[in-house]
Symmetry: C2
Subunit: 393 residues, 2 copies
């Protein structure tokens, strides 16, 4: 009825595949690995309740009033200190803008940088939320293959040479959807290939804090070596996603442009949530809290990997994640995961077919599994059901 009024950009943007799937899996006895929700254990509920009462008493009307577009200074200060300590970054709060979740960070970057037809390089597969929002800004996606150790360097060089992308969007830690992590060596090779190109490098890192195997943090690609790096982070997976608070760290001039875009987008992010998380960070040890989440996710990931090793047919490949929330399963070449999906639902287990993570997918033989929202026993039962479905396609 309103077709003629819609913009070209929205007509070309797919609505969420996952949302439709989640509808199938609700209100039933289906074991769902389709979601992407953090485990509620990751919300420090008692400490947050203490903090909300404290900020109400301490700041009064300020926690309810309009506020500044770039975000609460004290929260930006916390971020600056953490990145200084972890990564020796030479930054101040002028290098930080608070966003309404990482998804808004992607929207603002699209607004500020993407003209219709601009080439943007993404991993194959990539995060569907990025594909969706850059699609709105009519980006032309070009892809580089993802291997077990990170980007395929030959494919990367070809893509750079052929398409001269304006920007690359990468998730080097525990990628969504694949659960893969770039090795240190791979990151160095990626930066070598990128460093003479005139392009922006956007590194999205919602899962970086959730490394549960070997306790070594691998530095960002080109860390502290270029002004063209945009680092994205989020409180969603380590404190609470419901407050919708993420951030971008970048050159000050870029932050100023993002600020103009953000002002037009929502004026500023929820200020109550910013006071709340800032107070929480001042009065609690974040790393102690993160340790608890990591222990749980490690156990859950382990249960899923063990079950897949035990039950899956030999010809099925899957990643063994060292952190984050997902694993990625690859069927034999030529198999159609949508056939598997129907059989799996019949056996009462759900997953996300790989489609929304690709550009113009045709037959897709991959799928994403989330392990953070079921206990080990349920995970085992669900994987067993999935294995039965796999044996039928």
């Amino acid at each position: 009825m309103f077709e003629k009024f819609y913009s070209e950009r929205i007509k070309n943007t797919p609505s969420s595949f996952i949302r439709e799937i989640l509808k199938v899996t609700q209100n039933s006895d289906i074991i769902s690995f389709a979601g992407g929700l953090p485990n509620p254990i990751s919300f420090p509920q008692e400490a947050l309740k203490v903090s909300m009462n404290r900020i109400a008493d301490k700041y009064g009307a300020k926690i309810y009033q309009y506020s500044t577009t770039c975000g609460l200074d004290s929260l930006r200060e916390h971020i600056v200190n953490r990145y200084k300590n972890l990564w020796n970054m030479d930054i101040t709060i002028d290098n930080v803008i608070i966003t309404t979740g990482s998804q808004q960070a992607l929207d603002l970057i699209g607004k500020v940088f993407i003209n219709e037809g601009d080439n943007v390089m993404v991993e194959k597969p990539s995060y569907l939320g990025l594909l969706q929002v850059f699609c709105l800004y009519r980006a032309n996606f070009v892809t580089t293959k993802l291997n077990d150790d990170g980007l395929d360097i030959n494919d990367l060089k070809n893509t750079l040479k052929t398409y001269k992308p304006k920007a690359a969007y990468l998730i080097p830690n525990f990628q969504n959807p694949t659960g893969l992590t770039y090795t240190k060596e791979n990151r160095e090779k990626v930066f070598d290939a990128l460093k003479d190109e005139d392009m922006l490098l956007i590194q999205d890192d919602p899962y970086g804090e959730l490394r549960f195997e070997d306790n070594i943090r691998i530095p960002y690609i080109g860390l502290n070596q270029t002004e063209k790096n945009l680092y994205l982070g989020s409180f969603s997976k380590i404190v609470t996603p419901g407050m919708r608070l993420g951030y971008i760290i970048a050159n000050k001039e870029i932050i100023k442009m993002l600020e103009t875009a953000k002002q037009a987008s929502d004026l500023h992010s929820n200020i109550f949530g910013q006071y709340l998380i800032s107070d929480y960070l001042s009065n609690n040890d974040l790393d102690t809290h993160i340790e608890k989440i990591k222990q749980l996710y490690k156990e859950q990931a382990g249960a899923m990997v063990s079950a897949m090793e035990e039950y899956f047919p030999q010809n099925i490949k899957f990643t063994k994640p060292k952190g984050g929330m997902f694993t990625w399963v690859t069927l034999e070449e030529g198999k159609d995961v949508l056939q598997l999906f129907d059989k799996a639902i019949a056996k009462k287990v759900a997953f996300v077919p790989g489609h929304p993570f690709y550009i113009n997918p045709k037959t897709v033989n991959t799928l994403r599994l989330n392990y953070t929202n079921a206990d080990s026993t349920t995970i085992k039962t669900g994987i067993k059901r999935l294995a039965e479905a796999l044996n039928e396609v």
Copy 2:
């Protein structure tokens, strides 16, 4: 340094004029009528503190988890009931989407409807936040003059005939910046002129609840008479702006498209805030609270109007608002308000020059005054200073 990377849309979007002005007025003995903040009395702080503890106890992890894009059902239910009661609207929660403040409502509408070059009709002058965000979507603005009783009907007809706009954006109640309200008769004439045009009508109404003169609510333009109406509302001026919660009421098909755009923009709005306001509305009488705000604003508006009548030179015109937060001052034709601004700052009083409310302004002879954030004595002193400045230009 990053100039070549920026999108055309952001290069053409002005950063906020008001933000620059607010910097001048901070940390000093300047009386500022430049802001647009609600008075802190409008935040029901004690009741909100009760509500936040109640929702923490009642809902646990849910108030911190990811949630649905369209918003919390119970909050949408409150909105549905209010609009049914007030306006006899035939709607369900499927006609409502919660947005991260009204500013995001405008961003989503831009995303869903505006192609580069689309004609959009706005009042002259119009809300700067709309001009900013539709500028990002490269709309072509066409304007209709605003008179004391609403839109200039002849000008409206000419604009419609000449430009065939895709959409009109109007603020019929206590407009920002002018404080003007369309009369019932004017609204009927506007709808008469619009109803056979194939266009959307966006009515933004952040101030409609704050009517402090004569207690009659005037219906929206074309209320319940067309599916092409989009009604925008907000909790910012009646409960809290810091939570960033607004909403759009529209045809279900339109809401579905807005949902796709919102998912790409920030997944969903802060869910804690949605639980909080929903609980507040369930346990308090909103109208009793609004009455308190109205009494205060009526007194403040009265103080400003009286002082302007007493001190301003005869040739200065100004609106006498019947609600909302602003009044609008017009100097003699040809005068430059920027000259006045410098003199006013020297006399330690600030306002917003009319510029950001116009498309491509040249010499501007208008200015906006806010009265909600100063007591009557301060208002009188400030207006006296402004009158002195007026006498010098």
